[in-house]
């Protein structure tokens, strides 16, 4: 970055002081899933803003308590924006934010700002991406059986899965979407075995959420089946297998938060990473040949979601 003023949308009048952002996230930055998505966003912003951005990252804060300590610590150290990237951090943010009125807290993924003036909330409408993936899967399946491998039946994973199921059903309600939750975010072997079980039971398309699905993707690849990814871009991981990934682009939301900050607005907003605002993108794997019919349908569906003509039903 050469001339910060010209490029940075966020730093406003102050030119000398870089903006300082801190992130606290539950898993590790290369999980090919949730934490990697926010890490990627900061890498993008850093590339854009150069020296005007300084960021710190604390990963693997699956212990809420430790995360709270980290959040408080960053706030104490004067970071401008502290991102609590885990829905389980809500209570901590609620507790800490009032002590640091000068700091912007961004909490995701949820929609609750607790009515605090310096808390933003952000979420991902992962049911949207899930829906689009589901539509594609529904059109691609021949056996009319689709398998889903999830970690535990809550949060982002559940949202995605529900959207996905709805998407499939919108194509053909008779398609059998079978959902397994393996009870763990890390048991790669069991996730793989769940995929194998789906395959043995006749599924010809698989999807799944969270970091342990890498095992399941491998099994889909082995069996020559299709996979739909979520949270981060999994296309390169199995180029012949992953049809499309729903990818989060949190930078879209972070840019907004940064410009609000520059304008002196510390909180109170809720953001949603949607297909419409680009916070969420369906990245179709160019290596996979998709029929024009499907491609058109995807565009239609995305447009429909964006203009509200498609409402994703709740289960």
């Amino acid at each position: 970055a050469q001339t910060p003023e010209a490029e940075s949308p966020a730093t406003g009048g102050e030119t000398s002081e870089p903006l300082r952002i801190a992130v606290v996230s539950p898993s590790s930055i290369n999980d090919l899933a949730f934490t990697q998505s926010i890490s990627d966003a900061l890498i993008v912003l850093k590339a854009e803003m150069g020296d005007d951005l300084e960021y710190a990252f604390t990963e693997n804060m699956f212990v809420v308590d430790d995360a709270a300590a980290a959040i408080r610590d960053y706030a104490t150290k004067g970071y401008d924006i502290v991102i609590a990237h885990g829905s389980q951090y809500g209570s901590s943010v609620q507790e800490i934010a009032p002590d640091f009125p000068e700091t912007v807290f961004a909490w995701g993924t949820t929609v609750d700002t607790f009515g605090l003036p310096n808390v933003h909330a952000y979420e991902a409408a992962s049911d949207q991406g899930g829906y689009v993936n589901g539509v594609m899967a529904g059109m691609l399946t021949k056996s009319k059986i689709i398998g889903v491998v999830g970690p535990i039946e809550t949060g982002d994973a559940k949202l995605y899965v529900d959207g996905f199921v709805a998407g499939v059903k919108s194509v053909d309600p008779s398609i059998d979407v079978r959902v397994t939750y393996i009870g763990s975010f890390s048991d790669v072997a069991l996730a793989a075995e769940a995929a194998t079980t789906h395959i043995a039971a006749g599924a010809d398309i698989l999807t799944g959420s969270a970091q342990m699905v890498v095992g399941a993707i491998g099994k889909a690849e082995e069996a020559g089946l299709y996979w739909f990814g979520t949270q981060a871009n999994q296309n390169a991981f199995a180029p012949k297998t992953v049809v499309a990934s729903q990818v989060y682009h949190w930078e879209v939301i972070l840019r907004e938060i940064i410009s609000l900050h520059a304008a002196g607005i510390m909180g109170g907003h809720t953001f949603s990473a949607t297909l419409q605002n680009g916070g969420q993108v369906i990245t179709i794997n160019p290596e996979i040949e998709l029929s024009e019919e499907i491609k058109t349908k995807v565009e239609e569906v995305i447009a429909g979601i964006n203009d509200g003509s498609i409402v994703i039903p709740k289960p």
Partner: protein
């Protein structure tokens, strides 16, 4: 016995040596950090800066210190349970599951009965936490005593089961009603009433649990060395045939040891909810809720040489190490995995340091005569006798 005068000088030297021995775990920790320094340098971080941040983060300010204490509370509680279990010769590695079940029961109570005066609710919640832990510890106890099922096996299994129970409740019956409606579906319960929360030392997060835990440490000390029950648990732990001969119901006391051990873990689980988070939250793993306290408590007890009173400072030190290491990670921005690895190194070094402590003790024993320094138990006995 020899006259006091002749030995008083020796006794002094002996005491000094003995203090040196007691500090062995700290030296071991330093040695482990020294090894950790190599990793830090390889990762391009300045070890001095890093460890400065660690110390600062753990003990550098009043606030940091209170965070350390907050961390120490579950370690101490689980550690106390460990002291009892080990004295009774049972290996309870089910602290994680026991914490979870204790938390579930007490949280369920706090969210269901909302009309009670705060102090009463807290007391009942504590009892329920204890009961939850006792259930989860008692099952392996009964399986061991009456069905000869090894407790290492059963506690590992019970941990896994507890996690699934928690996951089920957090998404179904006990989920925060707000979340049930919301899209985010965070697996957490609703928050406890303000009045139901353990009093805090405002503005820090330090809660009354610390005081309770310390009192309990003293109580465990008395329990083990001053009560019939403690005598029996220790007897069963040392020799089952001799205990039987002494009229002690061996099976019953195996169960009791695990029940008590579970009770403390269950209480730790309750404190995490009522003192720290005010709700139960999970990420789908045990660690997400317990923060590994179910395991680290065992280590803290070992730091404290399985003595309930020494476990108090040991928990604080170990808690400080954990809190400080996180702070260090933030300052020098090394991957958090390093912290886990360092944590492991510290554990290995500390258990190994026992050897050097014993050896030095033995050396003093031959130097100052056998009557002064006897192995641990006798020493505690001696303290108990003189107290």
């Amino acid at each position: 016995m020899p006259p006091k005068q002749a030995t008083s000088d020796l006794r002094l030297k002996d005491r000094a040596g003995s203090i040196f021995d007691q500090l062995m775990p700290i030296f071991a920790t330093l040695a482990a950090l020294l090894v950790g320094a190599i990793f830090l340098m390889l990762l391009g971080a300045n070890p001095l800066v890093a460890y400065g941040a660690l110390a600062q983060g753990a003990f550098g300010s009043f606030n940091a210190f209170t965070e350390t204490l907050v961390k120490a509370v579950p370690l101490l509680l689980v550690g106390l349970g460990t002291c009892i279990a080990y004295r009774g010769s049972v290996t309870n590695i089910g602290g994680e599951g026991q914490m979870i079940i204790g938390a579930i029961l007490s949280t369920w109570f706090g969210l269901t009965f909302t009309e009670l005066p705060g102090w009463l609710a807290i007391i009942i919640a504590m009892l329920l936490g204890i009961i939850g832990g006792m259930i989860w510890g008692g099952i392996p106890g009964i399986l061991k005593a009456y069905f000869n099922v090894n407790e290492i096996l059963s506690t590992v299994m019970m941990n896994a089961i507890a996690v699934q129970v928690m996951n089920y409740l957090m998404r179904g019956p006990m989920i925060d009603p707000v979340q049930r409606e919301a899209a985010s579906q965070i697996p957490q319960t609703a928050r406890l009433l303000e009045t139901y929360r353990l009093p805090r030392l405002s503005p820090t997060r330090l809660h009354m649990g610390l005081l309770i835990a310390i009192l309990l440490a003293v109580a465990v000390y008395f329990l083990l060395w001053r009560t019939t029950l403690g005598y029996r648990i220790r007897a069963v732990g040392q020799s089952q045939p001799a205990s039987k001969y002494g009229g002690i119901d061996v099976k019953k006391h195996i169960v009791v040891a695990l029940l008590l051990s579970g009770a403390f873990a269950g209480l730790a689980g309750m404190m995490q909810v009522y003192g720290v988070n005010y709700r139960m939250i999970t990420d789908g793993s045990a660690t997400g809720f317990t923060g590994n306290a179910g395991f680290n408590g065992i280590v803290a007890a070992l730091f404290g040489q399985l003595h309930p009173l020494i476990t108090i400072p040991a928990s604080v030190l170990f808690g400080g190490l954990l809190v400080g290491a996180n702070a260090m990670q933030r300052v020098v921005q090394v991957p958090s995995a390093l912290i886990t690895a360092l944590n492991g190194l510290v554990v290995v070094f500390v258990v190994s340091s026992e050897f050097f402590r014993r050896r030095s003790q033995k050396r003093r024993q031959s130097q100052f005569g056998t009557e002064l320094a006897e192995p641990e138990d006798a020493e505690m006995q001696q303290e108990a006798g003189e107290a």
